[in-house]
């Protein structure tokens, strides 16, 4: 098989496996966890485009997630606008904000970029908390309607599973395509050496703003879906800690790998469920994971799997 065919094959198996899971699982609790894994995968993929491919950190991505969630929540719960229309509106607004803020913010590099995006994220977190008349403030916003198409109302785990995962798979497909297009190669060039990329005629600044905008667009869609599946949102889900959790997902899974983002999202969503037994240990374990994986496995867990697969391959060929 050629490389491209193998890629399509792998993706099809991945997508099919995900779409058949609900038939094997009857338990609604696990489906519910899987819905969250889907939303987190979308966010991790979005952040990975920026962090893994372009090499630009964002410690404020929870803000875009929050913008999507709050726009959907407020406009459907308080103004009864059409939810699908609002999802698009929210995503476009988040993208517009990212585009405008992107030009000055992505001029910054390294640590300064990290601090600026962090500041940006915290400003939005404070806005979510303080504009009580709109967002309900710290006590949250409830009464967000479920989505519906025709007669189907997405109010149970099975429906939500398909809603979230179909969109997530589409996002993953688009991201894989994007990463292998001209833009993706240009991004990797910027990642390796911005100066060299610019010498080759890549407008690194505009490129970074573009990918930041796309990333915000996807994150806002994830936010809208989160609001409609949860029907309740509060600022705590969109704070600095969540931004860091997203970075952890991308790093743990593997920088620059779309499947890695899925793996990272899955691990970080499932882990707290297990750790509930030792409550309060999750934060310390996240910290340890971030340190250890960055130090000893810069390619993330997915690179470990790939290495393993290669070894197995070599062994079977050797026989």
């Amino acid at each position: 098989m050629t490389k491209e065919k193998r890629q399509i094959f792998v993706f099809l198996i991945f997508a099919l496996a995900l779409l058949t899971i609900p038939f094997l699982l009857r338990e609604s609790y696990l489906l519910n966890v899987l819905v969250f894994i889907g939303i987190h995968t979308m966010l991790a993929v979005a952040l990975n485009l920026l962090l893994g491919y372009a090499g630009q950190i964002s410690l404020g991505h929870a803000a875009f997630f929050g913008i999507g969630a709050y726009m959907s929540g407020i406009l459907t719960a308080r103004f009864a606008l059409d939810p699908w229309l609002v999802i698009i509106l929210a995503a476009v607004s988040a993208a517009a904000i990212a585009f405008i803020i992107g030009f000055p913010i992505l001029k910054l590099k390294g640590h300064y970029l990290a601090m600026a995006t962090l500041g940006f994220g915290i400003i939005f977190y404070i806005i979510f908390n303080e504009t009580v008349g709109w967002t309900g403030g710290p006590s949250g916003l409830s009464g967000i309607p479920n989505l519906q198409i025709g007669g189907i109302i997405f109010d149970n785990d099975m429906c939500n599973y398909y809603l979230v995962w179909i969109i997530t798979i589409a996002v993953m497909l688009l991201s894989i395509n994007l990463s292998q297009s001209r833009i993706g190669r240009a991004l990797r060039a910027v990642h390796d050496s911005e100066v060299a990329a610019r010498v080759m005629g890549i407008n690194a600044w505009v490129l970074k703003v573009q990918i930041f905008t796309i990333s915000a667009f996807i994150s806002a869609i994830a936010g809208s879906l989160y609001a409609h599946t949860m029907t309740f949102i509060s600022p705590a889900s969109f704070g600095f800690n969540f931004s860091v959790e997203l970075v952890t997902m991308v790093v743990v899974g593997g920088l620059g790998s779309i499947y890695g983002s899925f793996l990272g999202a899955a691990i970080l969503t499932v882990l707290p469920e297990f750790l509930r037994v030792f409550e309060d240990f999750d934060i310390i374990i996240y910290g340890l994971m971030l340190i250890l994986i960055t130090m000893f496995m810069p390619g993330g867990l997915i690179s470990g799997f790939q290495l393993l697969a290669q070894k197995v391959n070599l062994k079977t060929k050797g026989k």
Partner: protein, 291 residues
Amino acid sequence: MDNLYQYLLSGLSNGAIYALIGFGFAIIHNATGIINFAQGEFVMLGGMLALFFLVFCGFPLSPSIILSILIATVVGIIFERLAIRPLKNAKPIRLIIITIGASIFIRGAAMLIWGKDTHALPAFSGNDPLYIAGATIMPQHLWIFAVTILVIFSSRLFFNHTIIGKAMRACAYNAQAASLVGIDVRIMVMLSFSISAAIGSLAGIIIAPLTMTSYDVGIMLGLKGFCAVIIGGMSSGLGTVMGGLLLGLLEALGAGFISAGYKDAIAFIILLLILFFRPEGLFGKKETERV
């Protein structure tokens, strides 16, 4: 008028703390080029350790303070030794993630050890306000001002007039050249982490009686300290002090006259504006980019 005076006073004392924390950022940044995202956790450690020794163990004030600073410094050294040194020459993005990981880890450990409660540290010399020239002032404010001035003067002496301080500055200018003239760069980096941790924990100790302390105060205080150093410019010690005081005053006035809820946003809006329009800081010199 009376309100304004109170705002100014609390603004200046918070500002002094921000300046101290910012100092810690600048020392590590100048020695290594790293922005240490775990800086705020040293501040938290200072406050929580002092509380632990003073209130739970019943030690007297000065041994508690000294022990707290010592332990925080040791944590700083261990952090440098285990997480930073093995990664020298790594890309900034990896270093950022490592220091974030360390900050989460230290915060999590503090939560497991001391719990989630917020505590008040007793003020160093009581809570009776002093009357100076018709105005009231808490003794703790005087402590903060005195300690800040002391730290700034002694660090100035240290960096300009001792051989180790000069060696550290040499490393900041050019680590390779410094090692060629016989300076052990690794020791200087370790030293910068320990000084930075010591100053950070000291800041955490002296502010704890005014603002309460808990396992998670480090995030905000650390970020404000970073904001102070960005306003002032990484390369300028006096600039950091001015940046801290300016930030403290703007915050206090903003909280007093505009809205208390948006107090924290003020710092970050200033941070973004400075980074966008004058990334070298108000008092710093512009650096040329090296490829």
